[in-house]
């Protein structure tokens, strides 16, 4: 007789919802057969990490999977990274693989000290091994994505680049020791990555002035 049951919008479904209240008020002493099969079905259909992942309906054409050999895995790159072996952990602590980096890269990378929620994900660890070209490519061509975010984090926190909000370039401050006898002990030069034209890191000219306000606080 309740008003809710007269409402045509819900009247059909309401009785099913009400049925579910019974076990709440008077739980079954033993699981009835129907419940056993419902529970087992739930176990069988248990949502996994792929179900819980962020949905993407529209795919940026650049990020569509390219046809590759059938022998290559087609699973997403976000696999769970294997147990951190002691060697790997040490590498993580002292910076990425030294051997494949150039002199410049070695100067840029600092020991990984960021302990945020991304630091232990496989993608962040993978990005720490990418060279600058790859990082900038992802940054400029995958805008608004999680990958872009991680790359910006890698550039800012681990490689010490700074992002200019105004011209959208990444800048790097290089500090070198001056030859003896010079007035200043250190010399500061700035470089920026020219993403629009040459796709190279270029030296800033002498009238470049670093203005903290222009740079994103990442």
């Amino acid at each position: 007789q309740h008003k809710a049951f007269k409402n045509p919008l819900f009247s059909e479904e309401l009785k099913y919802w009400l049925d579910s209240k019974r076990p709440l008020m008077q739980p079954y002493k033993e699981m009835p057969d129907r419940m056993v099969s419902q529970l087992e079905s739930s176990l069988l259909n248990c949502p996994d990490s792929l179900d819980a992942d962020t949905p993407y309906l529209y795919r940026n054409p650049l990020s569509l999977p390219h046809p590759t050999s059938i022998f290559f895995p087609s699973e997403p790159i976000r696999f769970v990274s294997p147990v951190d072996s002691p060697q790997l952990q040490q590498q993580q602590n002292t910076g990425s693989n030294e051997s494949i980096k150039s002199e410049d890269d070695k100067k840029e990378s600092k020991p990984s000290t960021t302990h945020d929620i991304y630091s232990r994900t496989s993608l962040a660890k993978t990005f720490s091994k990418f060279d600058l070209d790859t990082l900038f490519f992802i940054f400029y061509h995958y805008q608004g994505t999680y990958e872009q975010f991680l790359v910006a984090r890698e550039l800012a926190k681990h490689r010490n680049w700074k992002f200019n909000k105004i011209n959208r370039n990444w800048y790097y401050k290089e500090v070198t020791k001056s030859p003896p006898g010079m007035q200043q002990a250190e010399e500061e030069t700035w470089r920026y990555f020219d993403y629009q034209n040459s796709w190279l890191a270029r030296r800033c000219n002498s009238d470049f002035k670093y203005n903290e306000e222009d740079f994103e606080k990442l």
């Binding site: 099913y16 919802w17 579910s20 056993v36 419902q38 529970l39 176990l43 819980a52 309906l57």
Partner: protein, 512 residues
């Protein structure tokens, strides 16, 4: 029909989202047209449209090739619902009401699907919808909804954030495992969702804690109901394992949540889940150092943190009801008549089935006993701060004698429950751990029991063993008490009658 028209419109929406970014202007235009053309102009049309869209999305999931894109429709629906949370004018109804309506519709569609005979219910599309809502909301709310350019809407959404999470939690509570077993595994997965659990824990002023506790208790009640003595079903066993793993995660990230809510959890936790009990009670505040509990020379008087009052989120006083008066009055001025009232009041009116370790039913009101014990402990801690530690570390204090008399006059079952509740207070270094260690150790060695002494000692030892024999972790306070009892000069554990009766226990003690 009307429903078929809605199917068409929703299908257009799904197709649109596959062709453009969700923040494209076309998407906004589409939504505006839906409102202008009467598809979403009032509550009735909103309900009919959303119901049709939910049903269509579930159907699409069930009909899809399982190896293909099964969630396209449900993903689009979640996006629609979230967008409408932001862009609507909210004239006919408020944003709060809108969210309630959406969850109501989902609950109705869900209930019918789950309860129908010959049901083909599958939890995954429903899970996916909830998960997506959480993801979309998480993306929106970054840096106080800074992505929202309209400052008025931004302000409203900031205020709405709390309501969003708590409403989500309340609807999840509606579809708990006891009510909808076909959703059980999705339930725990949602409870522990990375966009839900840490956010509920982090909401300002702990405003998500109450509803989160309700959900965890829903889970415990389900487990309790179907954890019998004669074998547990595989499914329940897996549910338990998942619950354990989630609690361990909470203990790692937010130990203070487990610490402050331990009382409510102990009331709901199945009695035989000794390891999960230990995990919850072994939670340590992030900045506290633990002195070595095996150190025989450990003196809690000298440990600073043993003077600190642990925060209790849910005041046990609430569960005392009419018991509060006699208990508080006794603590102020002890009297035999007050004690009689307390002793007589802890029994239930009728037996209750309870699958415990070594028992199948209870005649004592466990919840009341636990409330009394914790309340006395809280009051003792406050007294210690107000006056001096001497006021409570004293076998003549009313705090001690209340518990002593309860044990002395009570049945074996009362003794067991009181001692069990006291032992639950042996946790990380704090004033409650400190005081209850004093109480239990004193009681163990006291000569005031007369003929009851051996039973009291047995029950204390029994409770310790129930906690220590289990695989780790063990709460610091339990280990400390056990170490202290092992090293007593005046009582030799190995010569106790209860120990000699059980060779296995005797052997363990000999080794230790």
């Amino acid at each position: 029909s009307e429903t078929e028209k809605y199917y068409l419109i929703f299908t257009e929406w799904v197709k649109l989202l596959q062709k453009v970014e969700h923040d494209d202007e076309l998407v906004t235009v589409f939504l505006r047209q839906m409102v202008d053309r009467g598809v979403l102009s009032d509550t009735d049309s909103l309900i009919n449209f959303c119901k049709a869209s939910f049903e269509l999305s579930i159907l699409a999931f069930k009909a899809s090739d399982p190896t293909g894109e099964v969630f396209v429709s449900i993903d689009a629906l979640a996006m629609l619902v979230t967008k409408l949370l932001v862009v609507q004018e909210f004239e006919d109804y408020s944003r709060n009401e809108y969210l309630d309506i959406i969850f109501c519709i989902l609950t109705m569609v869900f209930s019918k699907d789950h309860e129908q005979d010959n049901s083909t219910f599958n939890e995954r599309p429903y899970f996916r919808f909830f998960s997506n809502i959480l993801s979309e909301w998480s993306s929106l709310r970054g840096h106080d909804f800074i992505k929202i350019t309209d400052q008025q809407i931004r302000k409203e959404l900031i205020e709405f954030d709390n309501y969003f999470y708590n409403t989500f939690a309340s609807y999840l509570h509606l579809i708990q495992p006891v009510a909808f077993p076909g959703f059980s595994f999705a339930f725990i997965t949602l409870l522990s969702h990375r966009m839900f659990l840490p956010n509920m824990l982090r909401l300002e002023n702990k405003s998500g804690w109450k509803n989160l506790t309700i959900l965890i208790i829903d889970l415990f009640r389900f487990l309790d109901q179907y954890t019998g003595k004669v074998g547990i079903s595989n499914a329940i066993s897996v549910v338990y394992k998942g619950a354990l793993r989630v609690i361990i995660g909470i203990s790692n990230d937010f130990p203070e949540y487990l610490i402050e809510n331990h009382y409510e959890f102990m009331n709901a936790l199945p009695s035989s889940y000794a390891q999960l009990k230990n995990v919850m009670l072994a939670a340590i505040p992030k900045k506290i150092m633990l002195p070595n509990p095996y150190d025989n020379g450990l003196d809690m008087d000298k440990i600073d943190s043993c003077k600190m009052q642990p925060t209790v989120f849910y005041d046990p006083v609430v569960d005392l009801h009419s018991f509060k008066k006699p208990v508080d009055n006794y603590l102020r001025i002890p009297s035999n008549s007050l004690m009689r009232t307390i002793i007589n009041g802890v029994y239930r009116d009728e037996y209750s089935f309870k699958s415990g370790i070594g028992y199948d039913y209870v005649s004592v009101d466990q919840k009341l006993v636990r409330a009394v014990v914790l309340h006395v402990g809280v009051e003792a801690g406050l007294e210690s701060e107000k006056t001096s530690s001497g006021a409570i570390f004293n076998a003549k204090s009313s705090y001690y004698t209340l518990l002593f008399n309860l044990l002395n006059e009570g049945s074996s079952e009362v003794r067991f429950k009181v001692i069990e509740a006291m032992m639950e207070q042996l946790r990380y270094p704090n004033i409650h751990t400190h005081w209850f260690t004093f109480v239990l150790k004193n009681m163990f060695t006291s000569e005031e029991w007369g003929e009851q002494k051996s039973e009291i000692q047995e029950i204390i030892l029994r409770n310790i063993f129930e906690r220590i024999i289990v695989n780790k972790p063990h709460p610091w306070g339990v280990t400390v008490l056990f170490t202290q009892l092992l090293n007593l000069n005046n009582v030799k554990l190995l010569s106790l009658p209860c120990v000699k009766k059980v060779p296995e226990i005797e052997n363990i003690l000999k080794i230790l």
